[in-house]
Symmetry: D2
């Protein structure tokens, strides 16, 4: 079995942490018994921590040979050791150079994957560039920013495999992007700085799902939140939800804390950084490379986590219950690709609605939440339109 | 000129109220100069109050002959008088019987309309049923519940004119349904009852745009809010936003106040009403006929406004600034139908995106809110997908 | 029986409204049976509406001869008629001149009161000035601004009767001032103007109990709230609770809506009014005469209710459940004065703690809320300090 | 100079962290120049981390010989090393046994202190018990739970020195207890567990300043909060602020997370722990020993930080800006004791109002917040009471 990890002796701590997370993952537990991946090889690219490790174990339990890779900055060595001890191939260590990270991805691809679950579409694009698609049936991609280049590739006719847009499942983006990233990025920024938000001015660039979550949690913790936007409807929504809306450059001099939540490079430029006052702190929520131009930061301004996503690089990512939903979607996406991928066109596809809804219903059941059911009279009303 | 109003002497008070509202309608003011309806006859069906009266005046200023009808329960006689004094035909009086209301709609149709702006699609359907479409180019419809039967008619091939779904413009539903109806229904219920929400249990049936708004404002005023839903994603969203989610029948015994916000008939049935405790109050937000089965209410339970939409029947509808957006969309829809309606298929159409966005941008300008513009590097990033 | 009311035929409507309010007044109901005012004459000064009418009826049921006065602007004629039909003497009509209002107060005093429950201390001061104290045992006063001059009188040795500071009972100010006045003033301002708060800038002058309530409800309804203060701790609290804090003159140009909540005359001066933009609206929450200098308002700026307390003058005062607490305190204060007033010094006294707590416990019982009880070990811990 | 620390080589990291915190401590910076402690010996007992280290340095800069002690569980060794390198005596190491901690406190007392700034009143009580008061002028105590036994001692005539109740300064408790402890305890609990609050049921035992802060932040992060209380007014306030209020034992079966915020021993007993469901988590906010009976926890229930205050034991205490206020109060209290302590009775004293207000005004100045000033007419109004 492939293994390139830092310290196998850390496995006990890793196993404990994986088990703690598992306690709060009822949805992944519920679907585990329904998957059949016997004899398949599945590549997983993910932030390697206790919650995501449970996805690897679930796929292994379903019969798959699982290979995991993860960049050095997002690897928990104890979790890597634990997975190896459980029979999962892992090529991930916190002391790897960028070159070694790339080599690990190439090694994984050369093993001959049936399905790839990617994070940021880095490995899907590498497989295309290096001609290492082999017998790959398809891939699942779980981030907004990873899907964007794949859609451009599809538009240009360059995408050669079907891709399931895990990010666009409602079970994922309605909860992971708003509540998961919102809560965890705000908290990671406070942890890193020791500062408080009560009374602080917090600027949030971008009012998409992630930005909405960050703005909501920042305000909830007492900040006065200023939103910046390029899109008029998003700007108006922010205004009606009680936020001040201004251009970013105009807001920078007042900011105690700036979150970039656009997923677009060059959002916070040198010009913006220079407009901030001493003591200002900048963080990226979600994030793509160069979202903050962190190369030349003025004295007195602090860019957290060197401009990488603050909750992944500096904390342990999203809350467990949220990841339970996202990882369940990813597991179902892998299963769906194994069963149906060979019939799917090389394009970006949505997850079938019934799988998405199954995740939501399992979560409701785990929470003990009951729904109403339309009565016969109501179905009749809806059928004739009134 | 057609006129059937209650008391022409009320016009002064009506004109004052119309002018007060106009002060807070910058968007309608801004587009007024751009419309050209010379020589056209436009029928308007609306809740007749000072804000909507400004739509009638705007269309008249654009050159149209305008005919207004409104059911008795939603007619402000002073506003009707004011419109007539300003040269708008009005068939609406607060003392009309249902038969007289219907006759007024028929009289309006027989005048030979070019375009009809409807509310609840009552008159569009009447025109189909009575074969009074005549030379009608098309209609605009502004409510969720009015569009539903028109879509069923379109599916069955029975719709004979193009309909613009004003309700589905983002400038309308993102603000009118959430903030307008949310704020005004909660406030109307408190005004009518003299009760407070701090510490009360408020049950909200339905977590669509209207229900989200009602739940948000009720919680903001201190209520503990319980949401009921039939749809799993909506239920999960409510749960993650901190609301308790339960079946309606289960929640009724705890409720101080129940809002029905489903837009579906028979939501609050006799069985639900009987499960409530003495002192409970029921209100409809948005609403369709029979949404609450108000015919046989148990002693001790109060159904506000006889089960009609509480903010229309018992107060003066939505806040001015919100109506400014919705009425501007409606004015642009009327103008679009005049210019393009004859080329449109007999179906339910969305408002062209550029008109919708124009309304949003005019509102931002009125608010003095500046947007950012993507830089050249950002446009390049977006173009290649990363 | 004394009676000077406008229209006795309105009594049926008044009785209905009084009964509706009574449904939500469990605390007043609970103490009603415990009072004994047989043979006493009690003067009541209050905003005459259905809730306060229940205090008059409760005192009558306890055996008192009750005489009610109320200024014209705060009198509901139907309620006045209803009280007379129930055997309560009422000198209050909505068409009275200020002179007639004053005469009514003098007539009441000349009847020979045992106890007076005052509102704003207008009649207590009148009784001192006109030498009409007679056999008055003592008075209860329920407002912050009414107590202030009485305390100055006490300091100067000019107060000749004991006064119970009903306002300073925790059952009153913790709920009435924050939640009652907060909710009702914000709602009255929105009702009067038809405006919305989502996205509006709302300036609140004063961050005492009333100002805190107004700020909280305004923010809850979507406003961006700016607080102005003269006191440093109050300013810091507002800042930590996420409000912007600025001097009033500096904030005026940004304001859509200004609430004065200081209870101090000359808070919003001509200079402030001139600094506001056209369309700005000013309202008083709580309030004393001349709190807003409403005599010379610039064009384009609107002062609601001519600068009187917006929820009393333009709506029906506080929510029922809140008034239930305040009126119960007042009833107990009247009873306490009858039993103990002759032994109390001519000074401003707090309500005895046990009466205040009794009201709170009755409210909890009505709500079905259970408290914990310290265990033996906890009492021991508290007894030795750890 | 006295020193018992773990590793002097950690000083560089400690100095960096102390300097980072100092950037956000404008109030302590502002008063630093005004203190004069030349030739005095000051004992400090505190959670030893970068923020509190700045108090030690400030007192040293004012001329004092400073001796610091701290229990092992609350000692950051790098900060201890940094202070020693800066000339502060430190007896605190993270590997000390409870006996060694006690010995360190005794060593400090035997040095002959002029003033003692205590935390939890452990050392003040030790000094009384061991007859080591010597020439101690007085002590400052900064916690609610530390003051309680001192007040009992004072009542019994056993307190032999004046104590300044730093905790009872408004600059301290209005911000530290509500916002500091509220935010930091909620965040520490989420960090430790990886869980989220959106949709969770969070029970808060005690609705004093700390409990109010915990409840507010938990709800802000999406939890449904249940409050438990023994005191009727606190229970009613919680109810009116929208929280469910129930007895603790009744609430335990529904809880995902329980915070004890009473500061009273035996609040969460074995009986309560057994009533919780598997997966429940318990944390102490603020806290005294045995507040949670953590000795015999049922399987499936987790007590964080072994029942010690979760934000001190498992995170780095309160936000910097909040500590800036509290530490400034403490510095002024030490200075006041040096100047006036010998004239003060052996009792628990409040900090003089003017010192408290000075801290608040310095904070406002640092924030750039302007206050209004009452006009001549307003002062006249207030002087005559209306």
């Amino acid at each position: 079995m492939l293994a390139d990890i830092r310290d196998a002796s850390l496995r006990t701590r890793g196993l404990e942490r994986i088990a703690w997370a598992r306690r709060s993952m009822p949805v992944l537990n519920a679907i585990a018994g329904e998957l059949d991946l016997t004899g398949r090889t599945v590549g997983l690219v993910l932030v390697l921590e206790p919650k995501t490790a449970n996805l690897a174990l679930t796929l292994r339990d379903a019969g798959a040979d699982v290979i995991v890779t993860c960049p050095a900055s997002e690897t928990a060595d104890d979790v890597a050791a634990a997975l190896v001890s459980e029979g999962v191939a892992v090529l991930a260590r916190s002391d790897a150079s960028p070159e070694r990270d790339r080599d690990s991805a190439l090694r994984m691809l050369r093993e001959g994957l049936d399905v790839l679950a990617d994070d940021g579409s880095r490995v899907v694009r590498l497989a295309h560039a290096e001609n290492l698609l082999g017998g790959l049936i398809g891939a699942a991609e779980e981030t907004t920013s990873g899907l964007r280049p794949l859609r451009v590739m599809a538009d240009r006719g360059e995408l050669r495999i079907p891709v399931l847009a895990v990010n666009d499942a409602r079970s994922k983006y309605l909860f992971d992007n708003v509540h998961g990233t919102g809560q965890s990025c705000v908290m990671a920024a406070l942890d890193l700085t020791g500062l408080q938000l009560a009374g602080a001015v917090c600027v949030v660039a971008g009012y998409g799902y992630v930005g909405q979550g960050v703005a909501r949690y920042a305000r909830a913790l007492g900040a006065r939140v200023v939103v910046t936007e390029v899109e008029p409807f998003a700007a108006l929504r922010a205004h009606h939800e009680g936020y001040e809306v201004r251009p970013l450059l105009d807001a920078c001099p007042d900011a105690d804390l700036v979150f970039s939540a656009t997923g677009v490079a060059h959002t916070v430029t040198r010009e913006h950084l220079r407009a901030m006052r001493p003591g200002a702190v900048v963080a990226v929520a979600g994030g793509v490379p160069d979202e903050v131009e962190a190369g030349d930061v003025p004295a007195g301004v602090t860019v957290l986590a060197e401009g990488e996503c603050v909750n992944c690089a500096a904390a342990e990512g999203n809350p467990i219950e949220i990841m339970d939903l996202s990882l369940a979607v990813q597991a179902l996406a892998v299963d769906h690709l194994v069963r149906r991928g060979s019939t799917m066109a090389p394009a970006v596809h949505l997850l079938p609605e019934e799988l998405d809804e199954r995740v939501a219903r399992l979560k409701l059941r785990a929470l003990g939440i009951g729904l109403d059911t339309p009565s016969a009279r109501q179905r009749e009303f809806l059928g004739r339109g009134l």
